[in-house]
Each structure stands twice: as C-alpha cells, then as structure tokens.
C-alpha cells in the first residue's frame, strides 16, 4: 500500500453494529500506522462487548509497537463473564502523543460513548468512521444504512467492509461499495475506504471501482478468544 497522505496525528474512532468489522478495521489501522514507524495508541472503548475483542490481542499488538489501552482480564474479578468497567487511562487517551485509534463498539448511544473521553468534543482532528458490512441484516440496504448511521449521533465518514467471511468474493465487495457509496451520498459523508481481506487484495488497485481507497485487512480477531 502506498503511504496515504497522513495528518500529523491520526485520530480515528471506529464504530459499527455487532460484527460489522469495526474492531478488525481499528486493529489493522493501528498496525498499519505502527508499521510506518508512527507512535500509535489503540483504545478499547467498546463497552458492550469489551473483552471479546482487544484484550487477548494486547500482548501481540504491543510486540508490534502499538500501545493498547484495555484491561487485562486478570485485572478484574468478574470480567470473565461480563466486564464493562472503564479503564481510567482510557478517559485520557487523547492526551497520548502520536496517533490514537479508538474501537468504540456499538450500542444504543452510538458515538456518545466519546463523552467519556476527555477532550473528544473539542478535538477538531478526531474522525468517527462507521464500518458497514452489507451482509449484516441491519445494514443491508441504502435506507437501512442511512437510518443506522443517523442513529449513531456522530459520524464523519463510512468504510465499506462488506464481506461474507471465507466466502467473500470481489463481486460482493463491489456490491457493498456501491450501496455504501449511495448511502454516503444521501448522508453527505465521504466513503473513507473499502476494506478487503488480504486474499482478495491482489485483484484490486489502490482504489476500488468507485475511487474509494482500498485498505487491506489481515484477520487478527479469530485469535481473540477472550
């Protein structure tokens, strides 16, 4: 991937409904940035399904130079089962120098979860990206995506992450790109990227059929088994 034109600090929050791929996108983004030699902090702000995502990957990500703000399961009693306790340092994550990537999960409150982060409201450079997979029943059509994104309180761009797991083919990704593009037009938002699994990446260029930048996704989360 060619280095895209990156701002001084990349401040991005990934939001999306259950199994949209928001965490996968956030993890890949953090690692890509770290591999460019940038200082990156990855923040677990998924308060609905927290322990199922970043916690188990923490050591691996840290090996690759990413600072991870997430509880270790062992730190909290009761969290094998549940676990929705905000780690105090998460509140001040935007004060970390360098890039900050937030996995903000999903839920009734959408991006309002950013209220828990000091300075989020004032921070001009923070972008919230909604990750969309048209294979998910609640974001399958243009009107559904529009409704969904509007319910999230604050979104600055969409990411087409349409996939069918192992069965994904290019046609499906293309179909997703089109639907997401149309939804974005109605919402007045940019499509920030189309994400594809690394197996399909060789068939694509830097941009997809509609000119959206392509991001290559390596799968890390199957390893995430609390």
């Amino acid at each position: 991937m060619n280095p895209e034109k990156l701002p001084k600090r990349v401040l991005e929050a990934y939001i999306g409904e259950y199994a949209s791929g928001k965490s996968e996108n956030a993890v890949n983004r953090a690692l890509d940035l770290a591999h460019l030699g940038r200082k990156v902090t990855l923040v677990d702000l998924d308060l609905v399904e927290p322990c199922y995502t970043l916690r188990p990957l923490k050591w691996k990500l840290e090996e690759e130079g990413v600072t991870v703000l997430a509880w270790d399961t062992g730190e909290l009693i009761g969290l094998g089962e549940t676990g929705n306790i905000l780690k105090p340092e998460v509140r001040f994550c935007l004060r970390h120098p360098g890039d900050v990537i937030l996995d903000i999960g999903y839920g009734s409150f959408g991006a309002q979860v950013l209220n828990l982060v000091e300075g989020a409201e004032e921070e001009q450079d923070l972008n919230v990206y909604a990750v969309i997979n048209i294979a998910r029943p609640m974001t399958g059509t243009v009107p559904d995506i529009v409704d969904h994104v509007r319910s999230l309180a604050r979104v600055d761009g969409l990411i087409n992450n349409s996939h069918l797991g192992e069965d994904t083919d290019l046609d499906f990704v293309k179909q997703g790109a089109l639907i997401v593009k149309e939804a974005a037009a109605i919402l007045g938002l940019p499509v920030v990227a189309t994400s594809v699994m690394e197996e399909l990446a060789p068939a694509l260029r830097k941009t997809d059929w509609y000119g959206h930048p392509v991001r290559v996704i390596k799968r890390y989360l199957p390893q995430a088994f609390w």
Partner: protein, 364 residues
C-alpha cells in the same frame, strides 16, 4: 448435649426421626421453606428446638432457605435445611455456591414425584439433581437411606462428613420414608462414641481483621480460566482423596450370581426381600446397594459385577441410578436388565416376579 439420654426405642415418622437426629447431632439452626413431604421436619424441629435453645427461620423460598443455611454455616454453626421436588431444584443454586466455596451445609431431601409438581407422595427421581445439580461437577456427598434408623444415623453422620471434608452433604430419602412410621433407636452420638466433628467459623473470628488476622475475603467468582482451574483441581483432588474414606455400600450373595440386583434407598428394601427369598429357594441371586450415591462405590460395584452374569437395576425413576451404574461399569461387558418405575413404589413381589422370569427362563 444430653438431648437423648440412653438408647430409646421409638416409633415415629421419618421426618420426625430427622428432626431428632439433627437435634442429637447438635445442629444449632434450621432454615426451611414448606414443601410436602418434608414439612414435618420443620414442624418437629420448631417444637423441639426452643427446649434445647436451637433456632429456626422460615424463609421466603428454597433459594433463601439454602442461602440462609450458608450464612449460618459461615458463622460456624451446624446449620441445615430440608426440601423436596421443585424445592430441591431451587436448592441447587445455593448448594452450587456451597460447593464452590466448600461450605459444609447439610440438606435433607425427601424425594417426591417429578417432573414439576407431579405428586407429593414419593419417587427416586431426584438422584441426578441431588448428585449433580448446579452448574458444577457434583462435588458433594449424597447418602441414600432406606429406613428410619438410617435416616437417624446418616443425618448425624452428614454433619460430620460435611464439617470434616467441607463438601455440601445431602441425606437423600423419599416421601415414603418421610411419612411412614416404623421403629428406630434414638441415641446420643457421643454416648455411642461418635465424636461430633467440631465446627469452625468462616467469618467473625476473633481479632481485628487486617491487623490481628487477615480479613476473610470469600468469593466464588474468578477472573480467568486458569484461576478457576487451579481452584477446581484442588477441590476435585480433595474430593477424590476423600472418596475411599466415606464410600458406603452393602452387598449380598454376589459370588457367581446369575443376577445381581442393584437398588438404593427404600427400593433396596424390596430388592433385598426379593433376593433373599429367591436365594433361600436356592437360586443364584445377589444384590448390591450403594449407600453413598456421590461419591459412588465404583470399585466395589465393579468387583461384584465381575462375578455376576447379569445385572438388574431397580429404581423408582426412569434410569437415574441406571445412568450412574452404567457410567461406573464403563468398559465391562455385562447385560443390564431394568425394572424402572418412575414415581411409583416397587414391591418385593414385583421384583420377585421379574427375577423369576429371568431365572426360570420364563421370559417372553
């Protein structure tokens, strides 16, 4: 203690026998919720308790009966409760906590018909529930009694087993044993040389916590799998270590039996009468009776079964003892015949008739 002086022959119901046994064992408090057929345990206890400065609390349900019993035990008192049927279902939640935290509770179960409310009369359908209830590994002790004398003996013993090994302990009887009247001998355990295992408080020990002693921080929740595994490994190891010390069983005529009858609880009485009657006639029949259903006398049953041509499992349930027997005989090639009467009593005549069809080749 001096609740009972000398040995006293008495005729009473099984529920009454349990109340006397708990009293004689030095039980200090009972917690309970009404359910037939165990009600009279509470009724007798509440009449006897004040005379001997013992306590009682009637709770709002069996969840509460179980959890208050845990509370009583935590302060170092011999505490117990009694239940049946749907009440036993609710009782499994607190007993699962007792199992997790090694709290020596004692529960008397008078089995009634199931599933659901079914009958208030009788069954042996709470074997699986009592042995393996709760979301755990069944780390508990279950004594299956067959007479009033045993109800008395094993209720006393249950307190000692519980407090010695710190596993929740059950006395598993049934509606027949609860309600019928027959003779037994009441006694003071100390006078018979049965030493009552001393109790110990889990909370409220002397001294200032954090200064004179560490505070008791008791929990049943763990952070990670490995932490739980470590606790369970230790508990399971201690359970298995205990097993040979407490396993009890009874057997008769097991050498070269054409049929070995396996039965527990009150059904064992019918089985024993039937087997002895046919053995008197010169037929090759024997019986094996597990008294501890948890832990199960596995080696002893396997040895007896190895000498038999065929097994016959008799129970007032549709295969609950049978399942345990099969599990414990795993790998042995032995036909098992069954006489399964879920929720219904089994008479000696029925067992005799069934045995004859096999032994005398009258099978259809």
């Amino acid at each position: 203690m001096g609740v009972i002086e000398g040995e006293k022959k008495a005729f009473m119901t099984g529920n009454e026998a349990v109340a006397w046994a708990a009293l004689a064992a030095g039980a200090e408090i009972m917690y309970g919720y009404p359910i037939t057929p165990q009600n009279e345990i509470m009724q007798y206890w509440t009449r006897l308790a004040p005379k001997h400065e013992r306590k009682f609390l009637q709770t709002e349900d069996e969840l509460s009966a179980g959890f208050t019993t845990i509370g009583g035990v935590l302060t170092g008192k011999r505490a117990f409760t009694a239940t049946a049927g749907p009440g036993n279902v609710l009782m499994q939640e607190p007993m699962s906590m007792a199992e997790a935290m090694r709290i020596p509770t004692v529960v008397v179960v008078q089995q009634r018909g199931g599933p659901s409310t079914a009958t208030v009369i009788y069954s042996q359908q709470e074997v699986t529930l009592t042995c393996f209830g709760g979301n755990g590994e069944g780390l508990r002790v279950v004594y299956s009694t067959s007479s009033h004398q045993e109800l008395y003996d094993y209720t006393i013993k249950a307190f000692n087993t519980a407090w010695k090994y710190r596993f929740p302990t059950f006395v598993l009887a049934d509606g027949y044993q609860a309600k019928m009247r027959e003779s037994l001998v009441l006694y003071d355990p100390e006078e018979r040389g049965i030493e009552m295992v001393p109790t110990e408080a889990f909370v409220g020990k002397p001294g200032m916590p954090g200064e004179d002693r560490p505070p008791a921080h008791l929990r049943n929740t763990y952070n990670i799998e490995e932490e739980l595994e470590e606790v369970l490994k230790k508990d399971i190891q201690e359970y298995e270590q205990m097993a040979p010390e407490i396993i009890e069983y009874d057997e008769f005529n097991t050498d070269g039996a054409d049929i070995l009858v396996v039965a527990h609880g009150v059904v064992f009485r019918s089985a024993a009468i039937a087997v002895r009657k046919l053995a008197d006639e010169g037929l090759k029949v024997g019986y094996f009776r597990p008294i501890t259903l948890r832990p199960f006398p596995q080696e002893q049953l396997r040895q007896a079964a190895a000498k038999a041509k065929q097994l016959m499992v008799v129970e007032s349930a549709y295969g609950q003892l049978l399942k345990i027997v099969k599990d414990n005989l795993y790998g042995m090639d032995l036909p098992i015949r069954t006489l399964l009467r879920p929720g219904v009593g089994v008479t000696p005549e029925e067992v005799v008739a069934d045995l004859r069809t096999v032994l005398e080749g009258r099978e259809d």
